[in-house]
Amino acid sequence: MSVIAPKFRLAYLLKGVLNDVFWIIVLVTLIGFPVIMIVLFYIELPVLEGELLTPFLAFTMIAHPELSMPLIDSFMNTDFFRIAVFPGFGFAALIAAGTIFAERKLLAKLQLRVGPFYCGKVEGILQLMGDGLKLISKEIIIPAKADKPIFWAAPVLFIGAAAAFVALIPVAPGWVVADVDVGLLAVFAVIGFFPIITILSAWSANSKFPFIGGIRALYQMVSFEIPLILSLLGVVILTGTLNLSEIVESQASFPWIIFLPVGAIVFFICMLAELERIPFDLPEAESEIVAGWLTEFSGMMYGLVQLGSYLKLYAFAGLFVVLFLGGWTGPLLIPSTPPEILSGIEVGPIAVDLPGSERFVDRTLNAELINGVIWFVLKTVGVIFFILMPRGVFPRIRIDLLLQIGWYKLIGLAFVNIFIALGLLYSGILEPGVIF
């Protein structure tokens, strides 16, 4: 084995730094300067407000807030920003990456070990980046008798479905990628895709272990979809709407978990089963069927499937927060900036002025957004913590016990939950569709 934590030697550090400096100088000289010369001398630069838009002017414009704030403002209100950065892919991927790292560290501490430690200076923070680079660099091996079009398409479909699921979750008031009136129904439809994709990828691999894993995944996901949907009916009855943003707004005073705890528990257990987390990780049972339906995936296909799994985890946790814990509602943590500061302050010799920020802070980056995001993230992280914990505590469940739980006990509890909701409604304690 190589040296794990090599001793520090000044000569090697200086050598590394000089090496980097040399290469930077070479690249800048050979590539950077010609590009700048071409831009300056051969491209027709536009004229902005009487001045030629040279690169110098562009740089100063970026630093000038009055000119750049409206740009940022309009960019943040585009659809592209919502899809790619927030609350869409970038935000979800960041939380997913954080979840993977937190899971490994949490599991390690639970099992009296340390977890990722060496990659990255502080307790292995860069471990995920290292894993990602490793997966990209590995060869993708396709079994000879596999059904190649479906086999290639399966991880992509998986990520697509997971991304569709993420797109439906509202993070802050007005900030959701797909604002549909039947949001909850769309969620059920997307959840219904996952068993199909799993069985497609298992079948197309044309091998014994993925076959067993795929069949088990099909059993598991299908039998837990029914209690999942039934347990949410209670919330729909009490709110009278299927739109996820409106469900959150109806919880401005009380989150629904206070009135429907049984439904929340049933939803949580079904969530664990849909995500194939321990104790329900039969489709990927290592000690019996090597890696279940993921056996034949290698390289970046495996990376995509893992990313999809964790995106699904974030989406489910987000759904739980939206439906039962009140979404983005919560007491005001960061107050909105008063308008006097926005239009400029002068305190003695110090003058602060951010022209153009008034409209930006008012319209887009307002206190509502920041508070909503903070509360949503806190609640989601809490729910994710409870999803990650059973991994260190429980062994794997057996398939007939799994089916008994899914078909008998959870459907029973879900019906109990519906009766509680109907009872609350018809006894007059709550009225349907009231937004407090």
Partner: protein
Amino acid sequence: MSVKIPPGLQLEKVDERIMTLNVGPQHPGSGHMRLIVQVDGDYIVACDPDPGYVHRGEEKMAEYRNYITNIPHLERPVIHDSCNILYPYVLGVEELLGIEVPERAKYVRAIASELNRFSYTLYWLAIYGIFLGHSTMFMWPAGDRELAIDLLDKMTGARVTHAYFVPGGVRNDLPANFEDVCIRQVNYLEKRLKAYADIFYDNPILISRTKDTGVLSREDAIRLGTTGSVLRASGVDFDVRTKEPYDAYEELDVHTNVLKNGDSYDRSKIPWLDMLESCNIIKQALEKMPKSGSVRVKLKPNPKGGDDEVYKRVESGRGSLGVYIVSRSKPEPYRLKLSVGSFRNLICLPYLLKGEKLGNMPAVYWSLNYWPVEADR
């Protein structure tokens, strides 16, 4: 058929409805042994264990080595529990050669034997966790085992395969402040073992997977000739340390743990209870040990036994381990037979797995305290 069949190969006919699975030697769920399992849907119809993957011919090789060079050879079947495999062998050789072991050596042997019991049982518990899919049940025993191995390292110089017992005593005495370190680590181990109850034995999913599976009744356990934790989990109170005490166990106070149900849950609980008992035994042995004295009797070179035979048994981690030595006035034994607990318990496997669900197979199979390498010798 035009296929050339190698001589000696056994063939069998294939059925249409019943599927034959090879839970083979290279499988994350079987240790290094093959189980040929015939399955009808989810129910096991028949199970045919096929040990022999790691068969080395220990007994044959022992006939070529003399009584002293046999010591590192014979401890290889179970490397963690090596002192317990050598124990009946050295007791037998001492009886053949007429050697009397000093008092202090007897107590040191008892301490080494109990520490080996820790090392083996914690490893077995860790692998049981892997079979059930419980990663914490793998990590905690594997981590706590380091304490027992560390003590053995101080005592014998090796972490596993110690080659510590010799006919005439033990190889070397305990190091200087061994007693304090040992008591401290044993106390910590006892605390950790008691913490296992919450996460492992009271875990509802573990209980639902192991309770009432693979039930072995008391009469069957006696009739099948099982031994060790399998026997004690079915209600038979038999432990060689109490019934036929040897060496220092004649003065030590050993309490046998017996449970009544005979299912996989009880079989997985008995080794844990035995480990808690081992903590007491080690502390007793350290107290009662004579504080000074030699630990080894010098032997003449190339000792020969007479025309005699001897059968000795000792309680190892898996059950009573017997050694049968036949000697014919030569420095090598004429015949050496190891009657190991794993091989004796193997007969439970086809008996118990008939009619079980396939998902229960790892739980039942590993709960029989089966160590494939030892059964194959």
